[in-house]
Amino acid sequence: MRALALALFAAAAGCADNAVLELMVELPASPGDDPVYVQVQPRRASNNPFTDEWRGDDVEPIALGAEPFVDHISVVSEEAGVDLAVKVRFCASPTCTDLADVDAPERWYLVEHPFYVGERTEADLVVSEVASATCVEGTAGCPTVVDRCAVRGCTGGDPPSTYCRLDGRHLCED
């Protein structure tokens, strides 16, 4: 009953209690004749180390084409304050589940604090080329970190150079 009352209150107040990150993953063109499939796996960073194999349902892998393109994935969360870990896997099979894909090369990304309840934010992940091997954690760019002030949102007009205020708070923070 309490949840219902809260939901009714939130609805009556016109409030959303979820947050959406529109993740724009810029993908490269396919490097050769063999098809390459890309699987983008978003996870809560705090309990999903990059070195683990991430299981569970994911959005469908997507085939690289002759031209670079942007894969748009909406990540919905009901919790603010978490960091988002993203693996981009390069697979040989359309489902990324073949035996050959067990050790599929990966790119790792860490998006800092992308969620703000009731707000829609946007972040870019740039994958410049198809990786041939998974990077070693802790080395430069492994993971690639998207700074919280680079997470777009909560502003109108021309895009500012940073999405944080002078005191370091994000524009989406109260």
């Binding site: 219902l4 939901a7 009714l8 939130a10 609805a11 009556a12 016109g14 409030c15 959303a16 209690d17 979820n18 947050a19 959406v20 529109e22 978003p42 996870r43 809560r44 994911d58 959005v59 469908e60 894969d71 748009h72 994935i73 909406s74 990540v75 919905v76 969360s77 009901e78 919790e79 978490v82 988002l84 969620f115 009731g118 707000e119 829609r120």
Partner: protein
């Protein structure tokens, strides 16, 4: 698009705005601007077959601007929706409130008005007491009982439910279908309300009303428990829908729930 042939376009509004009759306070520039935007939205609604939305937008455009073309388009859209009674009334209003209407538009409106008048059906209700004012509804529309007997009700062609209530009588319900332009008389057989096992005295509605018997449905606790369950269930359903509606929607079809 063929049905749009008779609708007047935004160009018509812009041309005729200057000749709008002074039926209301002069609209401000902001109101005219909003009216133009609503007019364009009304045209877009018709393009996609959303006539009811078009009615709403043209109506608002007319309220803001007083431009007769907007009212003409309201009437035309109502006609397209089969709401002939309202269309007839709107064409009448257009011709009454804008006597200096553009001659072509006036002639067109007159023609449509005659068409719509011929389509509206009339349901005459006989058997009503002249001294009593009844709660009359045709479908969900309240009908004013002005005391005229028989009571005449204008209606669109199609299936209808007529309900007549008064404190002294049991509800009278008629269901039937009216054809275009049909005039049908129904005899309302009003049965005195049975309260407490007896009847209201006098038959004229002026008798004393005794309380309902204790064994009736309303005094049963199970009835009220059932009502409570239904109300709570409906409340929960509405709350859930409102809650869902308030949530942010993903912009991509590729969605991951964290």
């Amino acid at each position: 698009m063929a049905r749009m042939g008779r609708l007047l376009s935004l160009c018509g509004v812009l041309l005729l705005a200057a000749s709008a009759e002074a039926q209301r306070a002069e609209p401000t520039d902001a109101e005219l601007q909003e009216a133009r935007a609503l007019f364009v939205a009304g045209e877009a609604a018709i393009e996609s077959g959303r006539w009811a939305d078009a009615v709403e937008r043209f109506s608002r455009a007319y309220e803001l601007s007083g431009v007769p073309v907007a009212l003409y388009n309201v009437a035309y859209s109502l006609r397209s929706l089969g709401r002939h009674r309202e269309s007839r009334d709107t064409f009448r209003r257009l011709l009454r409130d804008h006597p200096d209407l553009d001659p072509d538009l006036g002639a067109e409106s007159e023609r449509y008005l005659r068409e719509e008048e011929a389509r509206v059906a009339v349901l005459s209700v006989a058997g009503l007491d002249a001294e009593t004012r009844y709660d009359v509804r045709l479908d969900v529309r309240p009908i004013e009982d002005d005391g005229a007997r028989p009571l005449r009700i204008d209606a669109d062609p199609g299936g209808h439910t007529l309900t007549i209530r008064s404190p002294a009588t049991e509800p009278y319900i008629w269901e039937g279908t009216l054809a275009e332009g049909q005039e049908l008389t129904v005899e309302a057989e009003l049965v005195p309300a049975r309260i407490g096992g007896g009847e209201v005295g006098g038959g004229g509605g002026g008798g004393p009303v005794t309380p309902p018997d204790e064994g009736g449905l309303l005094s049963s606790p199970w009835f009220w428990i059932a009502v409570g369950v239904v109300v709570l269930g409906a409340g929960a359903g509405v709350g859930y829908l409102l809650y869902q509606d308030a949530q942010l929607d993903p912009q991509s079809r590729r969605v991951y729930e964290l």
